[in-house]
Subunit: 301 residues, 2 copies
């Protein structure tokens, strides 16, 4: 692993409400504001952040644009852009960097999904992030790791403003809802991530199992183009809720109420995620596809 | 039963999108626009209505105010009120009445909920509506009937603009999502309601079983008032998803992440519905309580 990945993290930000209607993270950050002891560790300072206050207040995903797609440098440097979320992104970049000169920050960003994805840790391919995620998976076997190669998508997310970061994605849960089970899982995952960062800082983090499965982002799958007069197309019942199950060519992926079926056509197997995520309708995204690889093969790319 | 309830319905409106982010009804109305034969019956004309087009377009519940609370005459007559939904309500009243002078209309309004309510028919206490709902329940044993005494709440809903009406409420499903199972249930329920109206018109509707259970609306239960600095309170895990299960004094109904529990205090048993409905957070409503009575006792009130 590159040397930099071994440097300790001085500050960890626990972030909720990057999407204002994903209430699990908002509630946990509010709770930890009252009960900080469970998120404190000896080797770093833990800070709390409600990242999109206006969207949280309105219980909507965003005001002007998706905050978690707003951290590209070219966007932040465009002074003509006065979108609320771009302003927030500029402030968060300052918070993560300028306020802690010379210190290294780690961001844990709490999300939920309407897809049946269980508990997913989302990372880029930086070894330190993957090693921390792999450690959490060793403690919680139900956790999956969903990784993105460098791209505008991953470089524009909130975590890109920190030196290290993991997105926590839990579902299914509706937008706008707080539910005991999702809260409990998110709370447990955060504790494990904090423990893993602590171990990383102490250089006691176990070498990750090279066979750990990583789901590497491949591409989005869009709803089929239909004339606006046509009957609506939706996720096929054989695919609904089958996040992380292998998908092969010929498997049905869409249907309509007339009984028409659209099969999957493409390389096989792929592992679908974010199936029928409510927030992605506006982009016409039905689900995303990943390739299942090992941590070893990812790190040797 | 009063004589009027025996008069036939000449026109039935199938309504979707009264709440623009409840996509099941929107999708079905779009589908039926392409395939009308399954919603046609001999004894009445069936019309389709997407009731809140701007909210549907934006995939949000409403633009200015809840359309399903906008049909009170005193609101419609207040010409200073220019809320989008009040304007829509005025147009829908015209559509239901003035365009069909002397004809009787029935509205089937399609909704979804994030609560685990299964399949619910919502009615006022007018005998014809209850008889039609009871007939559907005889065909589909999983259907429950949730009834409201005359009140601003029931008199302000879209169905109040028609001579008869039933609200269909299906859950759990997140807002903004279309899913095969919810579509299939809604489609089946609508067919049964149409068949029951057809039987009503032919005077062949079976006399309803007097022992049919009706859940009569009692009151809302609000989240406990807490200082804004306090940890958030949410539905207790023993209550989450327990819609229509009896609730007795002392049962836990709320909890927070510190382990504090709030018990139910009030008359017992009551039957909770709309537990943890996303749309009701803005009104601070955690769930509603009903009394379980028989159709016979409701009609004799």
């Amino acid at each position: 692993m590159p040397l930099k990945s071994c440097l300790p993290f001085d500050t960890v930000y626990l972030v909720g409400g990057t999407h204002g209607n994903e209430r699990t993270g908002v509630s946990l950050v509010q709770h930890w504001g009252q009960s900080p002891s469970e998120i404190q560790r000896e080797t770093f300072a833990t800070h709390l952040l409600l990242s999109n206050p206006q969207a949280i207040e309105k219980n909507i995903r965003f005001i002007d644009r998706d905050l978690n797609r707003s951290f590209l440098p070219r966007l932040l440097e465009d002074r003509r852009n006065i979108d609320y979320e771009v302003g927030r992104a500029r402030e968060i970049v300052k918070t993560f960097s300028a306020e802690h000169p010379g210190k290294r920050t780690f961001a844990i960003d709490l999300h939920t999904t309407t897809a049946r994805m269980g508990t997913t840790l989302i990372t880029n391919t930086v070894p330190a992030n993957l090693a921390i995620a792999a450690q959490v998976r060793q403690k919680m076997a139900e956790v999956r790791i969903y990784s993105f190669d460098a791209s505008d998508r991953i470089n524009s997310c909130l975590r890109a403003a920190a030196d290290g970061g993991i997105g926590v994605e839990i579902g299914p849960i509706p937008q706008g809802v707080v539910r005991h089970d999702t809260l409990a899982i998110a709370r447990q995952v955060v504790r494990q991530i904090l423990d893993a960062i602590d171990a990383h800082n102490r250089k006691t983090l176990a070498l990750p199992d090279e066979e750990t499965a990583v789901y590497l982002h491949d591409r989005h799958v869009f709803y089929p183009q239909q004339p606006s007069s046509a009957a609506p197309v939706f996720v096929h019942q054989a695919l609904q809720g089958q996040d992380y199950h292998p998908l092969s060519a010929g498997h049905p992926i869409f249907q309509n109420l007339d009984g028409r079926i659209w099969p999957y056509e493409g390389p096989s197997p792929r592992y679908p995620v974010f199936i029928n995520e409510a927030a992605y309708y506006r982009e016409n995204i039905a689900f995303s596809l990943t390739r299942r690889i090992t941590l070893a093969s990812l790190l040797s790319i």
